[in-house]
Amino acid sequence: MNNDVLLKVDDVRKEFPTHSKEVVHAVDGVSLEVRKGETLGLVGETGCGKSTLARCMAHLYDVTSGSVWFDGKEISTLSRRAMRPVRREVQMIFQDPYGSLNPRRRVGSIIGDPFAIHGIASGPERKKKVQELMELVGLNPEHYNRFPAEFSGGQRQRIGVARALALRPKLVICDEPVSALDVSIQAQIINLLADLQKEFDLTYVFISHDLSVVRHVSDRIAVMYLGKIVELAPTHELFGQTRHPYTRALLSALPVADPDTADSREQIILGGDMPAATNPPEGCRFHTRCPKARADCAAGEPPLISVLDDRQDHRTACFHPLTIGEDMSTAVPDLKAS
C-alpha cells in the first residue's frame, strides 16, 4: 500500500436547517484522508453523521464549510456539470438494496445507466458490458431483463455493486452496504467487495455501524460521534490500543461468540442517549456520557491529535485518553471544577 492521498476531507461541516429554525450539525468539522488502495472504515451510532459525511465526500451534498479534494482537485465547489467527469471515478454503493434500485426499471437498464449517462456505450455493446458486469458480481447475465423485485436482497446489492463498478471508478464509497442483509449474505457481499478491490485496485470508504464488519474489511478506522471524529487509527491499533472512551464503549458492545469470555469481559454501558445534533454539548461532545469526564472536558474541545506515545497515524480527540489495560468500567465522571 502506498501513502498517496486519493481523497482529502478538510474541516468539512454540513448543517441542515429544520422547520423550527434550529440547525442540525450533522457533520461538524471533520478532516481525514483516504489513501490510494486502502479501505477506510467509518463507524458510529445511528445519527452520528456517517452517511452525511459520505454524501459530502461524493459531493451529493454541498458542504456548509470546509473542502473535499479528490486526486488533488477540490471537488466540493464544483457545479453539477463540472462534477460529471469526477462522478466516473467516485461511486457509491447504498445501504438499502430495495430503495436504491428503481422498481420500475429492468436490471439491465439500471446497470447500463452509467454507460448511458456518460455516453460510453449503447445498443448491443452496452448490453454486452452489462452482462459482463453481472457475471463479474456473480449474477446470472441472462437475468438482465428482470425487475429488481424479482431478486433477493443479496442479489440486489450485487446489482448495486455492478452499477457502481461499471465505470471502473477509483474510489467507492460504501454506505452501510451490508447492514440491510442477513449475516450469511453479508459475508458474501464483503468477500465480493474484497475480490473486486484486488482485481481493480479500488479504494474503499466503508461505512457501517457494525464494528465487527468494519474490523474485518478496513485498513484504518475512523470512529464518529455526533458529527465529529473521536478516534482515527489503523485497525489493529484501534482494537489493541484503544484511546478514546467512546471507542472503548463501542468495542465492549461487540458480541463475543464464546459465552465464557462474554461474561467475564469488561462491559461499559453508557448512560443516557446521544444528545440532539441540533444542540450539541459544549466542549467535548462525549462528556455528557463519558465515564472519565472531567471539568476541562466540558470547557474546551479536544483536538484530534496523536496522544500519549501513539504514532502520527493514530489520532484521538480526548483530554484524558485511556492507557493500555486501563479499566474503564469503574470510572466515575467528575465534572466539578477543581
Binding site: A58, L60, L101, R146, G160
Partner: protein
C-alpha cells in the same frame, strides 16, 4: 436517449429470461376482472358505433342532419316515436335519433379523449416539475394549482364561450385548461416522496441530470396512478362536454351531440319519452362503462386500494 435505453430491453436473444414488469402483471390482473372486461367490450362497441356512424346513416337511409318534416313528424308537428322507419324515433325537427346518437358518440369520444390527453400531458409535466424541482418552481406551480382548482369552472366556461362562440376547439381547451390541476396535484404529491428515494440519489451519484432523473427514473413510478386517473377522467370529461352542450355552449347546431339532444328534448318529455330517453341512455351507458373500467384499472394497478 430513451431509445438507446430501450435497446437494452429490446435486443433479446431467445434464451434471455423475460422479466415480468409491474405493468404486465397489472394487465394480467385486469384481464381477470369480469366487470372491467365487460365494460371494455361496451366501450369498444361505442367506439365502433362512432367510427361506423355513416353506416347507420346508410342502413336507415337517414343522414344525421336531414329533417323529415313529412314522415318524421306527426301532423301536429310533434316528434314520432320509435317505428319501422325511425327505430329510436325522431326529434323535434324530424331527424333520426338513432343516427344522431351514433354521430353524437363521435363528438363525445373525441372530446373525451383529446381533452383528457391534453389534461394529463399538462398535469404530468407541471406536476413533475413542481414536485421534483421544488423551490420557487414548486411554490409558483402549487399556488397556480390552487387558483385553477378554485375557479368556478362553469361560469368561466360560459363567459368564455359567449366571447369566442361555441366550437369543438374551445370546448376541448376549456376542459383541458381547467382539469390539469388535479392531475398535477396527484403527480406532485407522488414525486415529492419519490425524489427522496435512494434510487434518485443513486442516479445523481452516477452523474445523471435533472431532466434524465425526472423522465427516466421518476416518471415510470408515477405512471400507475396517472393511468388510473386518466381512465376515470374520460367519463368526467364526456359528462362535462355534454353539460356544456346542454347549456348551449357546445357545438353549434346542427351538429349532433348528446348534450344538445338532451337539451332540445326538455320541452317534449311529456309527449316524446324516446327523445330524452335514448340520448340520455347513451350518455349514461358510456360514462358507466368508462367508470367501471376505470375502477377495474385502479384495482389492477393498485391491488391494495379499497374497493369501496
Amino acid at each position: 436517449m430513451t431509445a438507446a435505453i430501450e435497446m437494452v430491453d429490446v435486443l433479446d436473444e431467445p434464451k434471455a429470461i423475460e422479466g415480468r414488469s409491474p405493468f404486465v402483471l397489472a394487465l394480467r390482473r385486469l384481464r381477470k376482472d369480469k366487470v372491467a372486461m365487460i365494460s371494455l367490450a361496451v366501450i369498444v362497441l361505442i367506439v365502433l358505433m362512432a367510427i361506423f356512424a355513416p353506416v347507420f346513416a346508410a342502413i336507415t337511409g337517414h343522414p344525421p342532419n336531414e329533417q323529415y318534416r313529412d314522415i318524421g313528424l306527426t301532423p301536429d308537428g310533434l316528434p314520432r316515436g320509435p317505428n319501422g322507419t325511425f327505430w329510436l324515433g325522431t326529434d323535434d325537427l324530424g331527424r333520426d335519433i338513432l343516427v344522431r346518437i351514433a354521430y353524437g358518440a363521435r363528438v363525445s369520444l373525441l372530446v373525451g379523449v383529446i381533452a383528457t390527453a391534453i389534461t394529463v400531458a399538462i398535469g404530468v409535466v407541471l406536476g413533475l416539475a413542481a414536485g421534483f424541482l421544488g423551490g420557487v418552481v414548486d411554490t409558483v406551480l402549487a399556488r397556480l394549482i390552487d387558483v385553477v382548482l378554485s375557479v368556478p369552472f362553469l361560469l368561466v366556461a360560459i363567459a368564455l364561450v359567449s366571447v369566442t362562440g361555441p366550437s369543438l376547439t374551445v370546448t376541448v381547451l376549456v376542459i383541458g385548461f381547467f382539469s390539469w390541476a388535479s392531475v398535477a396535484r396527484i403527480v406532485r404529491g407522488q414525486v415529492l416522496s419519490l425524489r427522496e428515494r435512494e434510487f434518485v440519489e443513486a442516479a445523481r451519484s452516477l452523474g445523471a441530470g435533472d431532466r434524465r432523473i425526472m423522465f427516466v427514473d421518476v416518471l415510470p413510478n408515477v405512471l400507475a396512478p396517472v393511468i388510473v386517473y386518466t381512465t376515470l377522467l374520460i367519463p368526467v370529461v364526456i359528462v362535462t362536454q355534454a353539460t356544456l352542450s346542454f347549456l348551449g355552449l357546445g357545438l353549434p347546431p346542427p351538429t349532433a351531440d348528446w348534450g344538445g339532444m338532451i337539451s332540445a328534448s326538455q320541452n317534449y318529455y311529456t309527449t316524446a319519452w324516446w327523445f330524452i330517453l335514448f340520448p340520455g341512455l347513451a350518455l349514461l351507458i358510456t360514462t358507466l362503462a368508462f367508470n367501471l373500467f376505470g375502477d377495474g384499472v385502479r384495482d389492477a394497478f393498485d391491488p391494495r386500494a379499497d374497493r369501496t
